[in-house]
């Protein structure tokens, strides 16, 4: 039985961000510590409702401290994904049948449901390495490598970062650069954008392995404001080019008047889609700008961590993120940390529910909910404690809810009655164990 492995490519793209500088790779360095190893390990469960994605992962960050503020950090993450993900199709009052990603069989979405890719299983392995050392007394540089592999995606990345302290180390200016070279090896080859979803066994619109390159640049200033207040401001620039589509997602061909998906008759004797669908197509280039600010404020033992990020790109997506954490110590060895995160984004210019039958095909079209118009909120609580042998453990439980909406001008006819953007509800549970330091 062939392996159905088409979960969202975007999930794997996260490794590209892990290649980027900063916290993903290195432990917080306060000063030279005794030479030796310390380990930060975590177990994570992520689960969406309504039979959607579930993810289990184990991560390890091992750091070797050397004399004189030099560090080697090695990371390993293994992820196992199961479940189903929206394929870009829309709610209809009739059932819909789609050819599966493997091209070998079909799956059916019941009427009045959001069509989901049928179940799959995939495992991802990600590794990273980072070396940090001083350059003179007041400067420091980092260099790192990252790689990840899963069934249909390979990521390779390199990153470097330079920072310098000023004003008796009250001000730190940093600059970082990261390059990623990714290969998308979708099952049976990526489909050509905006071509129709074919019958089972028909691979005529496949164009094979695809590449994607990403350049990231970050410039940041960290400033000690007072004995109890630290702030940071970063500007990030990111440029992606190459194959940016999700090779498994489609956009429905809809009737110009009713807005319903246009039915299709499969070739006799062959299984295939019940309606007309085209594979999505995004631009082959994307430029993002972000500005991020963070403050950490100490209030007699309690710590408030507040951050804001604004992102804008040339796909017309704007987003705002506000993240708040409040660490509340309970005695010397335990703490409670509530967490609140607000997120909102506007849809991409080419985000659309369907492509109109009879009208010329647009240059780009995608119904991937990730590019849509939505708000999201995360509410969580973390509990941490120090063990008898001075190691640290923590557990956190969070709830994530995404609620989107299709702009009125982007839906018409019978689409308006249907729930075209169901809420996404997910639970995040993580257990961490930090030892050796």
């Amino acid at each position: 039985m062939s392996k159905e492995s088409k979960k969202s490519i975007s999930a794997t793209l996260a490794t590209a961000t892990c290649a980027l500088l900063g916290n993903a790779i290195t432990q917080p360095v306060q000063a030279q510590e005794e030479p030796g190893w310390d380990f930060n390990t975590a177990f994570l469960y992520y689960g969406e409702d309504a039979d959607r994605v579930q993810d289990l992962s184990i991560s390890v960050l091992a750091r070797r401290t050397f004399y004189d503020d030099k560090f080697l950090t090695l990371g390993l993450t293994v992820d196992s994904l199961t479940g189903a993900t929206p394929n870009g199709g829309i709610h209809q009052s009739v059932a819909q049948t789609f050819t599966s990603a493997s091209g070998n069989n079909v799956y059916t979405a019941p009427a009045n449901t959001q069509p989901l890719d049928s179940e799959f299983l995939d495992t991802r392995v990600a590794v990273s390495g980072n070396w940090q050392q001083p350059l003179g007394r007041l400067s420091q540089f980092n260099v790192g490598l990252s790689a990840s592999k899963e069934y249909d995606y390979l990521h390779l990345g390199v990153n470097a970062k330079l920072s310098r302290d000023f004003n008796q180390r009250n001000t730190t200016v940093s600059a970082g650069l990261a390059f990623s070279s990714d290969t998308i090896d979708a099952q049976d080859g990526a489909p050509m954008a905006l071509t129709s979803m074919r019958d089972v066994g028909d691979l005529s619109n496949r164009i094979g392995e695809q590449d994607k390159d990403v350049v990231d640049f970050v410039l940041g200033v960290t400033q000690v404001i007072s004995k109890n207040l630290l702030m940071q401001l970063n500007y990030s620039y990111s440029d992606s080019s190459g194959y940016l589509n999700d090779p498994y997602k489609i956009v429905s061909l809809v009737d110009a008047v009713t807005g319903d998906v246009v039915p299709r008759t499969p070739t006799p004797g062959v299984l295939g889609p019940s309606h007309e669908y085209v594979f999505e197509g995004r631009p082959d280039q994307r430029t993002k700008h972000s500005v991020y600010g963070q403050a950490k404020y100490y209030m007699g033992g309690k710590v408030l961590d507040a951050s804001y990020r604004y992102m804008t790109d040339d796909w017309d997506i704007d987003s705002h993120t506000v993240d708040l954490r409040y660490r509340w110590p309970m005695g010397d060895s335990r703490y409670l940390e509530p967490h609140l995160r607000f997120y909102t984004q506007t849809d991409a210019s080419f985000y659309q529910v369907g492509v109109v039958d009879g009208a010329p095909l647009p240059a780009f079209a995608s119904n991937d909910y990730r590019l849509g118009n939505f708000d999201a909120i995360t509410v969580g609580l973390k509990y941490g404690w120090t063990t008898k042998n001075s190691n640290e453990m923590s557990a956190r439980l969070e709830f994530y809810q995404q609620s989107g909406s299709i702009p009125a001008e982007k839906q018409f006819g019978n689409q308006v009655g249907q729930v075209q953007y169901p809420d996404l509800n997910a639970i995040i549970f993580q257990f961490s164990y930090w030892f050796g330091r």
């Binding site: 306060q30 000063a31 030279q32 510590e33 005794e34 004399y67 004189d68 503020d69 007394r137 008796q168 180390r169």
Partner: protein, 143 residues
Amino acid sequence: MLAAIILAATPVVGSTANALNLGDYQGKVVVLDFWASWCVPCRRSFPWMNEMQHKYADDGLVVIAVNLDNQASDAEAFLQHYPADFAVYYDHERQLAGQYGVEAMPSSFLVGRDGTVVERHLGFQSGKTEDYEAAIVALLGSN
């Protein structure tokens, strides 16, 4: 002459009110080290300072450590883990630190027999101890 500061411990826990008068050490070579319990490189500097004190005490070296913690209890906790075989003082008002111009933690000042500051060391790096020791020896050699 330098401001009076409170004597915290020599070399273990205890405190008496006494002034540190560096003038008392004229004729000796002094390593004056400013430290704090939260300063991680200080954990490595203490064993090294112990070694220097033992090695060159007879030649006239005196190591003096000045603590800049907010609370003496933090300093004492540190000294339990990293004992000092040299004098430790507590600069509660940070007057000495200000006068010497402590710009990094730890900072240590190499003072010659005539009382003048010959070298200033910002931070503590294991890679630099050889040179530091050579400078101490050179100063001990001269009269």
